[in-house]
Symmetry: C2
Subunit: 337 residues, 2 copies
């Protein structure tokens, strides 16, 4: 059994904790949290051992009547791998602690690429993470783009990708964020960070990305153009993408027009927290114009990286190859509609 610790129990951490707990080759040692809010209560009620991410705050948990198993260093020491799901920038501060206990660490996409040995996407570069001490699971959008580009690159070759990412302004719980009633080029300058971030996975891929922010909270939506070297039909692209386990081709007959109905669909399927781990690609949108492939895909910012984190655990330890790990992760979590 792989002993896994999770440092940071917010949006990503709590989801990765559930996904790890569902794997039969992994044991969740515990989760570390900075404060005793509603999420700490939930961790306790699920039976996850709780550690104080900041040791001086131990009394806060005691005051709240929450039993704590120890400080975060105890968790790191007891784990074969730590998933760092702390807010952007805190992972970098934690790095020396992971080194001290010689525990391999996985960081999230908010950390800088040069903090780590390898940036990771299961479908695209699983094997590169083996033996690494520090691995970064790329962000939700970069994960979504990598999953899509990997089969296209392998099958047809990518001449150039041009993507406009229409991003949700904030998650549903991030009540202080905007915009309200506006469409913001964000950043105004080019490229957005997503293109260079995709290049941490595919170093030689020619990609330009533009970012925007809009008043929505549910999912990001990408307007994708990929100019291909070999030119398939739209139907062939549909077949290629449809065969990928983490790409969901939204059928026309479902009459799903946006993220709201996608989330309804996920809830109807009993998905925990209405999570959508797959890229949602509108089947009808897949079009070829000369050598230009176009499509729309929606990306659930809170959850698409969760199966990737689970795979990265096996990858750093060399505990499975790509196909075995992805299948195992997907089966245990219920990935695929």
């Amino acid at each position: 059994m792989i002993r896994v610790g999770i440092n940071g129990y917010g949006t990503i951490g709590k989801r990765v904790a559930d996904a790890v707990a569902a794997q039969d080759d992994m044991e969740l040692v515990g989760v570390a949290k900075t404060r005793p809010n509603f999420e700490a209560e939930t961790a306790v009620s699920k039976g996850y051992p709780l550690y104080a991410a900041i040791e001086e705050r131990l009394p806060l948990f005691e005051d709240a009547g929450i039993d704590v198993a120890g400080g975060v260093e105890d968790l790191v020491e007891a784990s074969d791998v730590v998933v760092d799901a702390c807010p952007s920038g805190i992972g970098a501060e934690n790095k020396s602690m992971y080194d001290e206990y010689d525990t391999p660490a996985l960081y999230q996409g908010g950390e800088d690429a040069d903090l780590v040995d390898v940036s990771f996407n299961a479908r695209s570069n699983f094997a590169e993470a083996e033996g690494a001490d520090h691995v970064r699971v790329v962000s939700c959008n970069t994960t979504g783009l990598s999953r899509l580009l990997a089969p296209l690159q392998e099958e047809y070759g990518v001449k150039k990708a041009r993507v406009t990412l229409v991003r949700r302004g904030g998650d549903p719980g991030q009540t202080g964020r905007g915009p309200i009633n506006d469409i913001l080029p964000n950043p105004v300058t080019l490229p957005s960070h997503h293109g260079p971030d995709v290049n941490t996975i595919f170093p030689d891929l020619n990609i330009d990305t533009l970012g925007m922010k809009v008043p929505a909270t549910l999912m990001h939506t990408h307007s994708v153009n990929v100019q291909l070297e070999a030119v398939p039909t739209a139907e062939e692209v549909r077949e290629l993408l449809g065969a990928e386990s983490r790409l969901f081709l939204v059928p026309e007959k479902y009459a799903i027009d946006g993220a709201g109905k996608l989330k309804e669909f996920a809830m109807d399927h009993g998905r925990p927290r209405a999570d959508i781990w797959e890229n949602c690609i509108w089947d009808q949108s897949i079009s070829m114009e000369d050598d230009d492939l176009y499509l729309f895909q929606a990306i659930h910012q809170e959850s698409d990286v969760v199966p990737e984190n689970v795979d990265a655990i096996r990858a750093v330890l060399g505990a499975a190859d790509r196909e075995e790990s992805m299948t195992r992760t997907d089966d245990a979590m219920g990935v695929g509609f």
Copy 2:
């Protein structure tokens, strides 16, 4: 003096009426309206003769205490040109009436291209409208794209344009429209109507467009890619576009991040109804990557076609050439920041 009648006094009609009234070579014969709402009151208070667009409704205006100069056919008969600013589809129903009185008519972009002899954008094909009986001033988005593509096509040649139009869900007054908190591929299939509509102005231009709808009301925003034949620097593109009277390059120093601040800026400049007649192109966004030009532009859906309607009036009558008309229109309206 060119005698101009306006049939339809809603979002576009009322703005065109004001713009026509401001031209010293035009006389506003009157405006036709279907019902005596707040806009009818405003027309009367501005001294615009009001005509009943549906003659059977004359009593409604009398009941509301509004003096009416006659029915719409009187207006058409008394005009040298009629601007039809009725809701989409009504223009087509009105066509035979304009023919009956032998009055040239200008329609809006919501009508089908094959209703008319010529689709029109002042910068791109002014001269083609001369002598035409039926001319369509293309929609706000097509106007915005045509203004941008015309100088690029002339100066560098366009290999291919790929544009994602992130559209406002509805105007501020269209309180029944959505989406709320969603990002909709719209249409899901490709291309959106904008590409083919641009081809009514530039028949041979290679363009693919994708449309989306988001919860915003103020302006549309385009993520634009234009692959050019001859490759300029970004600075050269800035100079080319900056010289166009209806393209406003939003300077970095203004710190304008979206449509909200653009509208504030317009209001601070005393613009009627906070209108922005110009394409708003973020100067910083203008980038070249190999032969790919990228930029973001915002388009004010309620007003960018207004100067185009004024120019189309002179164009159909052969009353001025392109440069003379555009300068005259812009000077009288105050186009250009």
